[in-house]
Structures are given as C-alpha cells and as structure tokens.
C-alpha cells in the first residue's frame, strides 16, 4: 500500500494543517474508506483521522431551536440521541436503520455526507430538513446549504483544504418529517429507493411548505422541488399527492443495477413518495 503516514490531530487547526500535505485524505470512521483502500480505489499518502477530534463532536440545540451535530458524531450516537429523538426524530430513525450496529458504531455523520454515494440514507434526509453544513479551512470558515453540495456521483462541493465540522438543522416547529428506505433485498443493503419528506402543516390542515428528497435514483441525492411544490396549499392527499408522486418519478434519472431496473426504480419513487407523504400526514 502507498499510505506513508497516519495522522491523529489533537485539534481542528492541526487537522487543517495536516490536510495541506500532498495526497492527504480525511478519515472519519473508515467504513467507506476501508473498502476503497483495500480495493486500491484510493491511494492517499497521508490519512488524517478526524473521527476522534473533540471539536467535531457533540449534539446540541441552540436557543432558537437550531439543531447542531458535530461531523464526528457516529451514526450510533445519532440513533441513540434523546435530544434528536425529541427535536428531529426522523434523523435518529434513519441513522438507526443504516447498515448494522458495527458500522453505525464507527461511521460518522461527516463521512456520510462527503462520501457522496447517491444510495446513502442521510443525504436525502438532511436535504429535506434543509440542513446546512459548517465548513472549515485554513483560510477561515463558511456555511453552505446541503442543497448544491452534491455535484455528481461521489462529487461534492468541498475544496481539498476544507472539512465539514458540523451540520445545522433548522428548528422543526410545525414540521413533520419521515424517511422511507425501500430495500426489497436485504434490510442492511443500500436502499433501492430512499424518500425523505418534510412537510409544514398549518392549523387548518393545509401543507404550507414542503420538501421531498430522493436517494438511489440519480447520480447524486436530489431534491424533487416541483413535486414538493405541488403539495403546498393542499391537504397533501388525493390529486395533489398523485401529482407529487408523478412529478417526483419523472424528475429522477435512475440507472439499472442489481437493486432494480431504472423503470422499476422510477415506479417505486412514485409509490414511496405517496406512502411517505401519507405517513408524514398521519403521524
């Protein structure tokens, strides 16, 4: 193997400094990088392990209800967080269904976001939640919406000198969020189709705001904005829901693979958008 050095920085500044070395790559928990390394799909000269960095840890909530999660939080921490269970239950629910307990024990939120495989679960969930990512570089920090972060298959809008320090989810007041992962094969597999729905429902029972995000059916996780828009001002059922399902299915560009043909996946997008919106509104 070609990796010459493993660096465990003690601080964020040390991590950012280590990232300036040629051929450096960040390591969260290794559940994706381990596979890429052993198959020689990546050959980093320096691995910078940020999974144990204190500045990237923790789950908290601001006074205004904004939920803040450190990039090094593991999926297990997300799944078991009482704070998240109360503030944004869709997130621990989704995190707790990814892979298996041993993967969840080490895989990190930051790693899950930057890996950029369109079949992952958390990107669509966080897209529907309108999450923002906090990004640090040697030159300073910035905040970016997750919408726009995914450019293509395993391509994310992150500079080589940048790392994600955390994720912010806006307060969920009056929002209802659900995520469906359709796994016709094994439950621990990537989903054939992942559908995240977030709806803000007013006192009159009308949908005031909506997001629908899809995983597994395009080169990247995507928002189906037009589909979501067709629900606004309606009760979220009947013809409006049929329209949302139809538009979402037309919006994605799935490929054929072992998890289903493109045509099948497109049909399943319609089915699971209907079911997930209905689940959102019923509970």
């Amino acid at each position: 193997m070609t990796t010459a050095e493993f660096v465990k920085p003690g601080t964020l500044d040390e991590a950012l400094a280590a990232m300036t070395r040629p051929g450096s790559m960040l390591l969260g928990g290794g559940t994706s990088i381990g596979i890429l390394l052993k198959n020689r799909l990546i050959e980093p000269q320096t691995l910078v392990w940020v999974g144990a960095l204190p500045e990237l840890s923790g789950i908290g909530i601001d006074g205004d209800g904004t939920i803040r999660i450190g990039a090094a939080a593991t999926l297990r921490e997300l799944a078991r967080s009482e704070l998240l269970a109360g503030a944004v239950p869709v997130l621990p629910d989704a995190a707790g269904r990814i892979g298996n307990p041993r993967v969840r024990a080490v895989a990190t939120l930051g790693g899950a976001l930057v890996h950029g495989d369109p079949r992952q679960d958390l990107p669509p969930v966080l897209l529907a939640l309108r999450a923002q990512v906090d990004i640090a570089a040697g030159s300073g920090t910035r905040t970016a919406g997750l919408d726009g972060f995914y450019h293509g298959f395993m391509e994310v809008a992150l500079g080589e000198d940048e790392l994600i320090t955390g994720v912010a989810v806006p307060a969920r007041t009056a929002w209802r969020d659900r995520y469906s992962r359709f796994t016709p094969g094994s439950e621990d597999d990537f989903p054939t189709v992942g559908v995240a729905v977030s709806l803000r429902v007013g006192d009159a029972g009308l949908v005031e705001d909506a997001e629908i995000a899809l995983g597994g059916v395009d080169s990247r996780p995507i928002l189906a904005a037009e589909a979501a828009h067709s629900l606004i001002g309606t009760e979220g059922g009947g013809a409006a829901l049929e329209e949302a399902a139809r538009v979402a299915a037309a919006h994605c560009e799935p490929g054929d693979d072992a998890r289903g043909s493109a045509d099948y996946k497109r049909k399943m997008v319609g089915v699971w958008v209907r079911r997930t919106v209905a689940a959102c509104l019923s509970g």
């Binding site: 050095e5 290794g30 381990g34 596979i35 999974g51």
Partner: protein, 149 residues
C-alpha cells in the same frame, strides 16, 4: 508505524503499515479466531471490540485503535467463559465460521444490557450473519447468557 494497544487485556506493541486493517494486525499476532468473511462490513465474522464497542475489524484501521482496549473472541472467551458455554449448550452454531463474531457481539450486548427482549437481541445481533442455524439457537444462547449472569 509503531502501534500500542491493550489486546485482550495485555499491553502490546507491534509494527504495522499506516493503512493496515485491524483484522490483519490481530491475525498476524497469531489470534486467528477473528475471521474475514465478506470483507465489506456486512457479515460480522470479523467483529471485535474496540473501546468496548463492536466494530468490523475488516474495515477498521489498526491505527485508529492506538492506545485503546481491543478484545477478540479469544479474550472474550476467557473474560466470560459462561458465554461460550451458553453457545455450546444451546448449540448456537453449526459450521462455526460466524461463531467468533456472534460471541463478541453477544458479549457487547451483555455490556450494554442487563436484560433484553427478543427484538432487542435480534436488533443488536443484526448483521452477524449465520447461514446454518436460522438464528433460533443463537438467539437462545444469547438469552441464556443474559438470564444466567
């Protein structure tokens, strides 16, 4: 690079490549109870404890275990012989290839739970695949272990 960790309760130091996987380091030290099955974190045969948490040693970089307690099936069997007895008594195995991972995961379950429902056992042990038993006797072995501690 030089690695130091507490393997089955014993402080050890060894040389390893910076990107060595924990399973290879463990097996090169002669502890071959830990098996590589799928090599992609799905089957659970390679399960070990790092910092008392079950991980896939086939994906876990050895350098991430620097300074940490690491327990393999060999150490778990000595740490709590009753657990292995439960697997034997309940016949929680057939061919045996998955058994080291099952034992380590069952021990990890016992670390976190004094008791567990059938659903909790199956949830915690999910991803420790067995292609022989159909899981009934494995679940019974874990139940027996939890009940008789």
């Amino acid at each position: 690079m030089r690695l130091h960790f507490a393997l089955n309760g014993e402080e050890i130091a060894c040389d390893a490549e910076p990107d060595a996987l924990l399973i290879d380091v463990i097996r090169d030290l002669g502890l071959t109870g830990t098996k590589e099955g799928c090599a992609v974190g799905v089957c659970g045969a390679c399960t070990v404890l790092v910092r008392e948490v079950p991980v896939c040693s086939c994906l876990y970089l050895a350098a991430m275990a620097e300074g940490a307690p690491v327990w393999t099936v060999e150490g778990i069997a000595k740490r709590d012989p009753a657990l292995v007895e439960c697997f034997v008594e309940r016949e929680g195995m057939q061919c045996g290839i998955c058994t080291p991972g099952q034992v380590v995961s069952a021990f990890a379950l016992g670390l976190e739970h004094d008791s567990a429902t059938e659903e909790e056992i199956r949830g915690f042990m999910s991803g420790n695949l067995c292609r022989c038993t159909g899981y009934v006797t494995i679940t019974e072995a874990v139940r027996s272990y939890l009940d008789h501690r």
